[in-house]
């Protein structure tokens, strides 16, 4: 008995988020290359140096992953809030608050404390303080309708000045008065076996925190009713409200979790990747996290890979100095990528149109091929994919000939 299967796709395929993200990356890199050309340097050497600086040996790979750690956590933070329709651009402030909590604890907790217990305490504390900082924005949004973009920016600067004061007050390094005292190695997130493995890189336990966070966030979003509610509020808050979901509570919960993730990022950044805090420095990573989340289409897996990509850009740019290209080219590329992800409609349209044209062409070619074989009454749905492929191959020259004839006839 012959198995009847319908291999004919009903319509042209649509551009996937992955394709759109990759197109944005390509466009961002092209924009960066143009800028490098504009100042009279060679873009190929530039990108070659970036790859070299980020991946050429185990230590560099370790550093890249160390940098990616906070980008993953912040990307998750932004992505999680975004699923609820909130735009968390206050990750920098939440990061600072988480970082200062970790730093102060590292300074004041006794060195005799067992390490697992110590790690648990700092992780919990930084997460909680970050969560509190995020919750303020959520609360203001839910209760007073304060736009979260403006409130998170104000909280960023509030955190900036609070940290400015607290470094001076609690953990200042007496010899360099604008920095905090370096944290003892035993009180950072660094682990000897990781540093040995990667030739003294900055890779630390934070990387595992980030991976666990990815899994947990994926689980919350995909497998729990909480995640479902948050996503429902994000896609249509009025519809969600009508369905009986408490929108205001969802907003507060979402910002709280986002804040916790950013707070953890602060811990991994200031007590793992680095071991000091500087006064009067707003961490740029908070804003890069937005790019990570958008490029990763706000999914935990996407966030992981886009964070590693941005990690490569950010670590690799250090090697640009020798070529005379300003290292800020990496930030410019990142910003361009976000602009293109923001305008992803145009990219999606571009691909959809291409797919559509290709699909039409295939259908037409198959039709022509069948006609030339004298099988024009064949039901298209019975063709196997191999047959379709062969027919397409046979039909394409016919199609070309027909269009040429059409042109000459006119």
């Amino acid at each position: 008995m012959k198995r009847r299967t319908d291999n004919r796709p009903l319509e042209a395929r649509k551009a996937s988020p992955l394709l759109v993200s990759l197109s944005a990356v390509v466009l961002g890199i092209i924009a960066g290359a143009l800028l490098i050309l504009l100042i009279g340097k060679n873009p190929i050497t530039g990108f070659d140096r970036i790859i070299f600086g980020a991946l050429s040996n185990t230590r560099r790979v370790g550093n890249t992953l160390g940098m990616a750690t906070q980008l993953i956590l912040i990307g998750l933070s932004v992505a999680f809030a975004f699923k609820t329709g909130l735009f968390n651009i206050g990750a920098s402030g939440q990061m600072l608050m988480g970082g200062i909590t970790g730093s102060i604890l590292a300074y004041y907790l006794p060195m005799t404390m067992p390490r697992p217990l110590y790690l648990l305490v700092v992780i919990m504390a930084s997460g909680l303080v970050g969560a509190f900082w995020g919750m303020i924005s959520g609360f203001l949004k839910a209760k007073f309708n304060v736009h979260e973009v403006v409130s998170t920016i104000m909280l960023n600067w509030t955190a900036y000045w609070l940290v400015y004061d607290w470094i001076q007050r609690f953990i200042v390094d007496p010899t360099i008065v604008v920095k905090s005292k370096p944290i003892e190695n035993a009180h950072t997130l660094r682990a000897d076996w990781l540093t040995d493995l990667t030739g003294f890189s900055t890779l630390n336990y934070g990387f595992f925190i980030a991976i666990i966070a990815c899994i947990v966030i994926w689980f919350i979003l995909q497998k729990t009713t909480l995640g479902f509610r948050l996503k429902a509020v994000g896609s249509n808050r009025f519809c969600a409200e009508y369905a009986g979901i408490r929108v205001n509570r969802s907003i507060i919960i979402s910002m709280t979790i986002a804040g916790a993730l950013a707070g953890l990022a602060g811990l991994t950044y200031y007590c793992g990747y680095s071991n000091i805090m500087e006064m009067g420095k707003m961490p740029n990573e908070g804003f890069d996290g937005i790019a990570v989340a958008l490029l990763g289409n706000c999914s935990p897996v996407g966030v992981f890979f886009s964070a590693v990509f941005f990690g490569i850009l950010k670590m690799g740019r250090g090697s640009l100095a020798a070529t005379g290209i300003p290292t800020e080219i990496a930030d410019t590329i990142i910003a361009t990528i976000i602009y293109f992800t923001a305008t992803s409609v145009i990219l999606a349209n571009f691909w959809n149109r291409r797919f559509h044209n290709a699909f039409e062409k295939t259908e037409e070619a198959i039709g022509l091929a069948l006609e030339s074989e004298g099988r024009s009454d064949v039901d298209l749905t019975t063709l196997s994919s191999q047959e379709r492929k062969n027919l397409r191959k046979a039909g394409l020259p016919l199609l070309k000939a027909r269009t040429r004839a059409g042109k000459e006839g006119r």
């Binding site: 607290w166 930030d331 410019t332 910003a335």
Partner: protein, 316 residues
Amino acid sequence: MEFFSVISSIVPAAIAYTMPLLMGALGGLYSERSGVTNLCIEGLMLTGCFASATTIYLLQSAGMGYNAAIVVGILAAIAAGGLLSMLHAFAAINLKSNQVISGTAINMLATALTLFLAQTITGSGNVTVLRGIIRSDIPLLSKIPVIGPLFFCRTYWTTWICLVVWGVSFFLLYRTSFGLRLRACGEHPSAVASAGVNVHRMRYIGVLMSGLLSGLGGACILVTYAGEYNSTSGINGLGFLAIAALIFGQWKPLGILASTFFFGICMTIANMGRVIPLFQSIPTGYLGLFPYVATLVALVVSSRRSAAPLASGEPF
């Protein structure tokens, strides 16, 4: 009389801090009233600040007259702001993309691009101009008791330009048919479209105005109190303060004049707190966070009964 001397030292400085905020907020007003959410005021102001810094730096070192260089620099800032805002307009109006994301992208683009250019032009992250605007007294008016020393002594001439721009904008938005149409585009664009007005063009004008004015605001920061484009601190979130002032001022010209002046005073206290005896005991950190916390409180008070344009942020 000690109280008066404190006031007369705060107010002129507060006016200097107010003007960039006023221009940013007024730019936001144009854009939001035409129906485009504009969160990239910060980036536009930063671009203005950078463009004027570079132009003035290059011209002044080339031997051009100080004041002439400043005028050219301000014009360059306005042009740069307008140019960058077109990127937002294109994304928001033609591509119907998420305006919040597009705004954020432009903020980041402005930060990275200005730093990149500063590195290529001067070799460092900072561009310092040789001389900003010299403060001067207004001839007759500064002799008036009480008001004279507060408002007409040691003023920057950009202040008066900004106030004129504000007055003209008020007239344009509320007393002309153009203003009516622009405001209607932000409330009910389909009604305006059915009356035969090109909504896209009106929104383009709105966003362009926000770019031009924010550029002017950024230039004001540079030529009055800052004197340099500094890559590490940028403009310290002033653009976002301007947006907050816009919300606090309930999207009305008089409202934003009052709210930006309020924020101007807060900024003055934060920046000059050390020299005012009243605030000397407060640590720098807490003085620094004062304007931002004040903004949050102001937003809590004013956001509940939001008078935001109905169609702001919605593509047409």
